[in-house]
């Protein structure tokens, strides 16, 4: 715990020093910017992403940097505030970054992204999963994380493969993620011949799901499967009340529930299947990443956002290397044509994908408080709902 705390303080202190405007490196280095929400509601995602990015930087620099030049990162906190995200992005541009990582949520990511777009500097959101994000900003904006429509399609394919005919989906219109992913699931599920029998809605942070659970119990025909992208605290509250009401319908979740909380839920979470960005099977790149992470930070990794942060830094390095230049338009073009970049969670391809990457989606099952690998899926692109 203590070591973790000191590294966090060091990370925060580094951010403060950077924000104080200390001169950044020498003229021969490459500077990357990260405008993230390291405090506020995005901290649970951007803090781990930053840890992954820094691990990748260590490895890149140890291997001689990019194009033989050392790489450094300027980290600035947006306080999870959309207006501040634009201000911070401009500060990073003024400091001469050649590429920018922006927040995990769509709104601040757009605010930072449009600044980078205007300056012709490529940027990518650390873990926003809304597939329409790059198109909303322009040709200099990229996605990094597994897109919602991709996850929805993989979950639907799995559900149909299990022979489920009728699905109930539970969504919240509070965020694009909790609304769109279940809708993409429903669309793909119906395209594959299933039926969505009902759609429930909840409010994020709602303690009590008894009204929804009572409705599910009264459905005719009763659903064979329930899909939701609720995450904590909503997912634990929902599934506890669902199982307490004696409803044992299988539940499919998405990467938001890839958290120690889910595995500590005990019997109620038994058998829950969820999608995420990768499974650390023995000998995999992700397992090597997990070991390197524990060595650097002194505590085991407990979220996939560290690995996807690492992936993004590796993608940026590959794009600059392929461009052979630190010129913004050249990096953008090279990034847009990347194929099979080997990263911690597998491989990533941007070529012909409109800046929303194709990457593997892993399915995991909660079994006895442990994570069991169901398989890795790359659905046929005709099966993925249009964003």
């Amino acid at each position: 715990m203590f070591r973790a705390s000191t590294t966090r303080i060091a990370a925060v202190a580094a951010g403060l020093v950077a924000a104080g405007g200390v001169a950044q490196g020498d003229s021969h280095g490459i500077t990357i910017g990260y405008a993230g929400g390291f405090t506020g509601y995005l901290a649970p995602y951007d803090q781990p992403s930053l840890n992954g990015v820094q691990l990748a930087l260590d490895q890149i620099n140890a291997a001689g940097g990019i194009m033989g030049m050392p790489v450094e990162i300027v980290v600035k906190d947006t306080r999870s505030d959309t207006a501040q995200a634009a201000v911070v992005a401009q500060e990073l541009i003024d400091e001469g970054v050649v590429a920018m990582i922006v927040s995990c949520d769509v709104d601040p990511a757009v605010a930072s992204g449009v600044m980078a777009q205007a300056a012709e500097i490529p940027s990518a959101s650390s873990c926003a999963s809304t597939p329409t994000l790059p198109a909303a900003v322009g040709p200099y904006m990229f996605s990094n994380y597994t897109a919602d429509n991709l996850q929805g399609a993989v979950l639907a394919e799995y559900a149909r493969g299990q022979g489920y005919e009728n699905a109930y989906i539970l969504l919240s219109r509070d965020t694009p993620y909790t609304e769109k992913l279940p809708e993409y699931f429903g669309e793909a599920f119906e395209a594959m011949g299933g039926t969505v029998v009902a759609v429930g809605e909840y409010t994020m942070g709602q303690q009590d799901f008894s009204a929804e659970v009572t409705n599910i119990g009264g459905l005719d025909p009763s659903p064979d499967v329930i899909q939701t992208s609720a995450y904590e605290p909503d997912f634990p509250a929902f599934i506890k009340q669902l199982r307490a009401a004696g409803i044992d319908t299988p539940v499919l979740g998405s990467d938001g529930i890839d958290s120690p909380t889910t595995f500590a839920l005990g019997d109620v979470a038994e058998g829950v299947v969820f999608s995420n960005a990768g499974f650390a099977s023995p000998g995999s790149a992700l397992e090597a990443f997990e070991m390197a992470y524990e060595e650097k930070y002194g505590m085991p990794n407990d979220t996939v956002f560290t690995a996807t942060g690492y992936d993004l830094m590796m993608v940026i390095a590959a794009a600059i290397e392929a461009a052979g230049s630190t010129d913004g338009p050249a990096i953008r073009d090279a990034w847009d044509n990347l194929e099979n970049v080997q990263v911690a969670t597998g491989s990533i391809t941007y070529k012909d994908q409109n800046r929303v990457p194709v990457r593997v989606v892993a399915l995991n099952q909660v079994s006895g408080g442990e994570r069991v690998h169901v398989g890795d899926f790359s659905p046929d692109s005709s099966m993925i709902p249009a964003p």
Binding site: P48, P236, A245, G246, S259, A264
Partner: protein, 294 residues
């Protein structure tokens, strides 16, 4: 009819946690005129105390006791460190102080403990439901209703029978006159904070049992709900806070249960519209007293 009674029980259990939180807010408001927005963070402190206690192998019952004790002590400390120095300043200063305390706590939790949620495992017997006359009542719901009832009874005895309790009720009516009667202001204020911490701790345990994890920002939403409940019930009235908490829960649960599907996206707006309509009809709240204009 069964579904109606079932939803009634659901609303009663949710209303219990709202009432506990709202009562804590109202208690501090009644003596200081301060809405303490750091109140929800006392729930978060309960959660972290439980997390570390369970991690140290102390077992759940002891962790719950420690969690509630931690919230109570933290509330008293909060008053001593942050609010006593600005007690004579105007209410806007105190309001901003409470927001500052809340923000500082969020940053400390995020940077010293973890920005990621921490799991609090709940034993499986707590997750089941008991059958009461054909109604399935969740164990946590039952605990919530029982704990609320016991605490409300204990508090009303305390407020009616003990000197400090009577002093607190008097302070709610007129603090300067209460002090003229020889009542120690610091003792009254510290007791109000301590009790609000105790109530937040109990509400925290009930909410944590449902959500299964503690995270740095978890106190924010409940304190907003409690604030709505306090305003609805009548600012400055302790009974009003309890009634407001239950009223808010009943509106929420019944709207979610019985609104037609097409209306569901608007349930929050409808809830708040109903609250506004109630306040238009009764500007002083459901049980609030009219201000005497002299």
């Amino acid at each position: 009819m069964d579904i109606l009674i079932q939803q009634f029980v659901n609303a009663l259990s949710l209303g219990g946690t709202y009432a506990l939180l709202a009562l804590g807010l109202a208690m501090v408001f009644s003596v200081l005129g301060l809405i303490n927005f750091a109140h929800g963070d006392l729930m978060t402190l309960t959660g972290y105390a439980m997390f570390f206690a369970i991690g140290a192998g102390l077992g759940l019952p002891l962790a719950i006791v420690l969690g509630i004790a931690c919230a109570t002590l933290a509330a008293v400390a909060m008053e001593r460190v942050a609010f006593r120095p600005v007690r004579d300043a105007n209410t806007a200063t105190m309001l901003l102080t409470s927001l500052a305390v809340s923000t500082i706590l969020h940053m400390l939790f995020q940077n010293l403990i973890s920005a990621r949620p921490r799991a609090i495992p709940v034993p499986s017997w707590m997750i089941g439901a008991v059958d009461v006359g054909g109604l399935a009542i969740g164990v946590i719901q039952l605990m919530s209703i029982t704990a609320t009832a016991l605490l409300l009874i204990a508090l009303s005895v305390f407020l009616r029978r003990s000197i400090l309790g009577i002093a607190m009720r008097a302070a709610a009516l007129d603090f300067p006159v209460t002090r003229l009667m020889g009542i120690n202001a610091n003792a009254v204020v510290a007791t109000a904070f301590g009790l609000s911490g105790l109530l937040a701790g109990v509400a925290g345990v009930l909410w944590l049992a449902q959500r299964g994890s503690v995270d740095p920002l978890m106190g924010f939403l409940p304190v907003l709900k409690a604030f709505i409940a306090v305003v609805l019930g009548g600012l400055g009235s302790l009974a009003g806070a309890v009634v407001g908490g239950f009223a808010l829960a009943f509106i929420e649960v019944f709207l979610r249960a019985f609104l037609p599907d097409g209306w569901l996206p608007f349930r929050e707006s409808i809830t708040l519209t109903l609250v506004i309509v109630l306040l238009l009809v009764r500007p002083e709240g459901l049980i609030g007293r009219r201000e005497n204009v002299r």
